[in-house]
């Protein structure tokens, strides 16, 4: 009986080029199905994923990176590097000397505050608007500006195009957040170029989340950084993919204007080099503790966490400002078996706030929960009904991860070893 099953396991289709064998990090419970950041501009239906690597002991690269961080790093030395960097760029006439992207979330509060009030820089904060602002998100954003005391540019993309691309991204790749990610990523350098402010500071290092940084020097984000999402220097929208559809097709078939796609198109590397745009991670220079950022931002700008538990996870202070946000995590659960609770708890494991055992209890309780609060708004936004959405999700379930039973879809393997195939130990 078991032998037959083993054969069947190997026959199961594996979507997206994910690893056939499902593993979970022994330190943080993260699944090995988790993809690294994708080059969204080439991202389409048939894209194959590169996933986070695990070492022989079954630990993921994010944990190894973080462990290294706890041990090997001389934070004094790093701070000196930051001081040197700031000294180099600090304006003498009070003009803006750095761009700080953010949303008014706890991490951007910390980043902007430290740069302005501790390191005496003159930041211009820039924000790429969420699809649909939540009330708490908007209030935090306003408090960031009004109570924190920062100048801010808020860019809101053309709503019609954004909605269309979101719908297409959902249909083609079950990735509703893709247009937002593309826009947000390209925005910073474009603002640097626009204002002639070469220096920009992101917050946490992407290596925190398992993306291998190929930065050639410390803190810098190079153009070819996998976390950056670009692999070729292409700026012609017609040649790029948005929502899994080529720009050319969008223009011809969907009647989108070339101009409508500018919000998502990257800055050319020529301009970037010419303007000497220099992007850094503040998290490289300062030890980053997301939970402490929460306390910090409550103290400084009266930051408010979600009044109730964020659906799909246990916490209330992560990623609060977009009504669509929960569906990003939900679709991630469908595609990779990785929900919001798994991601949040993995981060807390790495920061030594909770144990892997506690993480597993949280995953068991909350992971994969379909957020209800904004579900109708989300469906309306992407012009789908409930049935269509669930049917669509089902087409994205990789058979090697999911099994359809009479009571519904079940994961074959879970970190708590209660997946439908876990008892067979395959």
């Amino acid at each position: 009986m078991n032998k037959k099953l083993v054969l069947n396991q190997n026959d199961l289709e594996v979507k997206y080029g994910l690893p056939r064998k499902v593993l979970f990090c022994s330190s943080c419970n993260m699944t090995n199905q988790r993809p690294n950041s994708t080059n969204e501009f080439l991202h389409n239906k048939s894209s194959q994923k590169k996933t986070i690597p695990f070492n022989e002991e079954g630990r993921c690269s994010a944990c190894l990176h973080k462990e290294k961080q706890h041990k090997d790093i001389d934070w004094k030395e790093r701070e000196e590097e930051l001081n040197a960097l700031c000294n180099k760029y600090r304006s003498k006439d009070g003009s803006y000397d750095c761009i700080v992207p953010g949303s008014g979330g706890k991490d951007s509060v910390y980043a902007a505050w430290m740069l302005k009030y501790k390191y005496n820089m003159h930041p211009l904060t820039v924000t790429w608007s969420p699809h649909l602002y939540t009330e708490v998100g908007w209030n935090n954003f306003q408090n960031w500006i009004h109570k924190g005391g920062f100048d801010n540019f808020l860019f809101t993309p053309n709503g019609k195009t954004h909605r269309l691309l979101t719908r297409l991204a959902t249909i083609n790749m079950l990735h509703p957040f893709q247009p937002f990610i593309m826009g947000q990523k390209t925005y910073v350098k474009k603002m640097c170029a626009q204002f002639n402010i070469p220096l920009a500071f992101y917050g946490e290092m992407p290596g925190e989340y398992g993306n291998i940084t190929k930065s050639k020097t410390a803190g810098e984000r190079t153009f070819n950084d996998a976390g950056h999402g670009f692999e070729k220097n292409e700026t012609d929208p017609e040649k790029l993919f948005f929502g899994g559809v080529s720009g050319e097709e969008l223009i011809k078939k969907y009647k989108v204007e070339k101009n409508d796609l500018l919000a998502y198109t990257p800055l050319s590397s020529e301009i970037e080099e010419k303007k000497k745009i220099d992007v850094h991670y503040l998290g490289y220079y300062l030890k980053w503790d997301p939970q402490e950022c929460y306390y910090f931002s409550v103290d400084k700008i009266d930051f408010k966490a979600n009044p109730v538990r964020t659906e799909g996870t246990y916490s209330k202070y992560n990623s609060l400002d977009d009504k669509i946000d929960g569906y990003f995590y939900y679709t991630s659960y469908i595609k990779f078996g990785m929900g919001r609770a798994m991601q949040d708890s993995a981060q807390e494991c790495r920061n030594q706030k909770i144990t892997p055992e506690e993480g597993r209890a949280l995953i068991k309780k909350f992971d994969g929960e379909l957020p209800q609060r904004y579900f109708n708004e989300f469906l309306e936004y992407i012009s789908m009904n409930t049935e269509e959405f669930h049917d669509l999700c089902d087409t994205f379930r990789s058979p090697h991860l999911w099994k359809k039973e009479s009571s519904g879809w079940k994961l074959r393997h879970t970190v708590n070893k209660d997946g439908v195939d876990d008892k067979f130990n395959t």
Binding site: Q291, V298, V308, K316, E358, A361, K365
Partner: protein, 250 residues
């Protein structure tokens, strides 16, 4: 020097506990470690705490009760009343923690889900053992009661619920303002006022104490029987002696 006790007003340090650490959040969120439960309890007892409250901060998250060992250990040397809450779901849980040395229990989520538990527990163990804990968040003109350590809303009006639990047999009420707790910006006096004078049983106010004035303000204005404070003690802002000294003159 013997500690002073205030007339009809108790100062109660509140320790939110996760595993074997005392944590302190803001708006019931965040698990920043601020100390060790046995050490802090000993410290507060020596400084004149009138009672101690232990809340298991993560029982409902992890579906487990892990305060047992700490309660048993601490109770051996603590000669003021100890109230224990967090994740107590049924009579069995309550009995267990009382046997380990707790004098009172605090229940919230379990009482909301099954109000009869309050009367059953009061009958079995005595009303004076049963503290009903209400975590209240402002909603419109009134307050909504939250459960699961501030994670789930209930649509229950907190003021009405407070009156109801009195009828069900609660011996005391612990009212925590979610909007103020951890902020050190002062108690939510509206909330305290609305409940303290409207129920015949003692009320313990919690959430927001950040200075001596915050506490003495409550003491002066409302028929409040006690305050439960965390940040002000855990972050060494004021001591128990300071608080009592400032209110002695009232």
């Amino acid at each position: 020097m013997i500690t002073k006790r205030l007339k009809n007003f108790r100062i109660i340090p509140r320790l939110d506990i996760k595993n074997d650490t005392v944590i302190k959040g803001i708006h019931l969120e965040g698990l920043r470690v601020v100390g060790n439960p046995t050490e802090l309890t000993q410290k507060y007892y020596n400084e004149g705490a009138d009672e101690i409250i232990f809340m298991d901060a993560v029982a409902s998250l992890y579906e487990r009760n892990s305060l047992d060992l700490i309660v048993e250990k601490v109770a051996k040397k603590l000669f003021v009343p100890l109230t224990v809450g967090g994740g107590l779901r049924n009579l069995g849980d309550i009995e267990k923690v009382l046997r380990l040395g707790a004098d009172k229990v605090a229940i919230n989520t379990a009482a909301v889900r099954n109000p009869n538990l309050i009367s059953e527990a009061a009958n079995r163990f005595g009303s004076q053992c049963i503290v009903v804990s209400i975590d209240a968040k402002k909603k419109g003109d009134s307050w909504e009661s939250y459960v699961d350590t501030g994670r789930e809303s209930t649509n229950l009006d907190a003021i009405n619920w407070a009156k109801e639990v009195v009828d069900l047999g609660a011996g005391e009420l612990l009212i925590t303002s979610i909007d103020r707790e951890g902020t050190k910006k002062g108690f939510e006096e509206d909330l305290v006022e609305k409940i303290a004078s409207k129920v015949p049983i003692p009320v313990i106010a919690c959430g927001g104490a950040g200075s001596v004035d915050h506490v003495s303000s409550l003491y002066k204005k409302f028929p409040i029987s006690a305050v439960a404070c965390a940040s002000i003690f855990h972050y060494n802002i004021s001591s128990i002696a300071d608080l009592k000294a400032s209110m002695e003159t009232e």
